[in-house]
Symmetry: C2
Subunit: 408 residues, 2 copies
């Protein structure tokens, strides 16, 4: 650390998104542009990289603007991730001591953690510990999750790109489902175990006059099988190809207790199966027509080739604002978006005490679910639309998007 | 039909692709630019639309270049499709009589059928029938299939876009799979029941220095479970996150006879499951590490937002060449690509007698499979690469790609 300068470290945690690297890029750029910042470290595999002192020198890796631009549109976590949750400090203080040792060994005065609910728990515990033991190390959280379930913030970086991928893909599935002259039902299972934001966001297709998905079911929407079958029957009267968007986390009333556990075939082989396959079976049995279910799987969280420019830019900015906040002395905060206006779309970024965000989930508002509990309202549409605007410029080589890679 | 002009009809058949509408657009454009062409009809739901006289006037629908450009990048079949196979003429001649009636009612002198193996069977039978009963109606096939399994032609329209989608998505899955510090195995199931072209094409990632997928298995590659487990064990020594691309049509030696049929859970509910889930179970049982399988499902055939410009343009051109061929008197032909050179990539388009193409499948060449039967050669890479070059300009509205729609 050169005279008076603060070294910093940045880490990424939790499940991948298309925007989590953009927040890393934004934090790095703000730090490298700040004359009070010395070394800029990246920790490998989240907080584990701090505990185990596995750091990389980001100034040697992100050597020019081209690298930074490439990192912004590279999905997943270039530094790796972890699912590690810090123990209570009075139970395993040795973990905290290792962390402080790493910080002190490298003269790190500020640590930035990009992650979701669990990662904000780490920010909170670490900030508490530093304060308790009198270490002046600023700890700031940068939100990310495709689930959009972090409290206080208007939305989370990574969510807009997931919405854009899901809507784009769903629209293509809609085209695909309409080709034959027979009645069909297509069930698309979308990520969201507790909160239905991503499945709800498929309503954005309405903005372009697309009536599908005709039915949208969320964990928040009080799902029953009988009501579902009635809804589908009603939709079949109006549409030859019925499209249904469903959160993976809905809890049908008649779900067998074995659901989510393994299924066994005649040979004793076991198979895991999700809600989409479950509904496919029930629906096909009931209606006897062509039914298929599609799981969008991990593509929902890593499809940077169809990322939202708004999302990528906001993720970059909130990373930079986290650095600015720490440099002016903030700690124990998560950076949040406040929506100032919808048309034109404008947001402000500010630090929020992390205890208001950690270990809490923001569910989809029940007032945005329609009275039939099988779709969402125009207020929801207006909330989602600004988040998916714009397309980042994706560099291609040999016909394939170029990704930033830390190592081969 | 105005004096001396020929009316024509175009139909789309078989499974959707990202390029089948581009061939329709190309055939329409060539026809509308040809002063010898009168009315241009589209048949709804393939040959069924001819049998049932369900035609639309494409000149009233594709009214300007903007419409045509939009149609080129709209996935699936805007006119609908069918899986209808013409009966032998001596068994059900009434079907042929209905077809001829429709042609004569609208003075249709040329019919273009965009489709795969089965559709070329229709072209062949219909051309035979017309010749047998002395009707001067030109019947020309325009190839399409993401399976790339049509004989004679170097490749098929629709395949390049499927390759580009699968490679782009697989690269994102690779990024996603590497985030945690634990050993993992990811199995990606790719379309191809008889021919492994699409799974084989994942080798294109090598062109950008990506070693994954580390293992590639095709229906043509003589798959055994023991050899597979040995291959995976070997790959695990070198890679923390092993990536495996597998054609849906591989036939493991130890596949239970119940495979492909339904699985039953403890409650009597049945579930369908593919080769990916099957290998996931076997792999997890054997290695005990994190294993997941991902099915790319119908997205492989309809993801026009990441289409190959080369593919979209070639699909357009081959549609136009089909019209040119019919206008100079060709019939009973399928249009084919011949590859003239690889660098620079150049192809020629010519008509081929349809009997050389119909009801035949072109498998992936066994000489392009490596000696370990778990990957493909550089010759394969060189064959695939030109097909995925370039990105079409996709129009967006409200952050979502705009699709051409015949009706809401």
């Amino acid at each position: 650390m050169a005279g008076g300068k603060i070294n910093i470290a940045i880490a990424q945690s939790g499940g991948p998104t298309a925007a989590i690297n953009s927040s890393l890029a934004g934090a790095f750029k703000a730090a490298s542009d700040n004359e009070n910042v010395g070394d800029i470290y990246g920790a490998i595999n989240g907080i584990e990289g701090i505990i185990n002192d596995e750091l990389v020198d980001l100034r040697k890796i992100l050597t020019d603007d081209e690298n930074i631009e490439l990192l912004k549109v590279t999905p997943s976590t270039v530094l790796g991730s972890c699912r590690y949750k810090l123990p209570a400090k009075n139970r395993e203080e040795n973990v905290y001591i290792k962390i402080i040792n790493t910080f002190e060994r490298h003269n790190i005065g500020a640590f930035f953690y990009i992650g979701g609910n669990d990662s904000m728990d780490t920010v909170m515990k670490l900030d508490d510990y530093c304060k308790a033991v009198g270490k002046d190390i600023k700890i700031v959280g940068i939100p990310k999750t495709i689930d959009n379930d972090l409290p206080v913030t208007d939305h989370t970086p990574g969510f807009g790109s997931a919405v854009k991928y899901v809507a784009t893909t769903l629209q293509e599935i809609i085209r695909d489902s309409r080709v034959y002259s027979v009645q069909s039902i297509t069930i698309v299972e979308i990520m969201g175990r507790e909160a239905g934001w991503l499945a709800a966001s498929t309503c954005v297709l309405r903005a372009n006059g697309e009536p599908a998905p005709h039915l949208i079911y969320l964990p928040e929407s009080d799902f029953t099988i009988d009501k579902y079958l009635d809804d589908v029957a009603e939709a079949m009267k109006r549409y030859r190809a019925v499209i249904i968007a469903v959160s993976e986390g809905i809890s049908p009333d008649k779900l067998p207790s074995s659901f989510g556990s393994e299924l066994t075939d005649a040979f004793g082989h076991k198979y895991l199966s999700g809600i989409g396959k479950y509904l496919e079976k029930i629906t096909a049995d009931h209606f006897g027509c062509k039914v298929r279910s599609i799981e969008l799987n991990v593509m929902q969280r890593c499809s940077s080739h169809i990322a939202s420019l708004t999302d990528i830019n906001e993720a970059f900015e909130i990373g930079g604002e986290a650095v600015a906040a720490a440099m002016r002395g903030e700690s124990g905060k998560m950076m949040v978006f406040s929506r100032i206006s919808n048309e034109p779309y404008r947001v402000a970024i500010r630090p929020e005490p992390v205890e208001n965000c950690a270990n809490k989930e923001k569910l989809f508002p029940t007032e945005w679910i329609n009275s039939d509990r099988n779709n969402v309202t125009t207020d929801a549409l207006n909330y989602f639309l600004p988040l998916i605007q714009g397309e980042p410029e994706i560099p291609y080589r040999n016909g394939i998007p170029v990704h930033f890679r830390l190592n081969q």
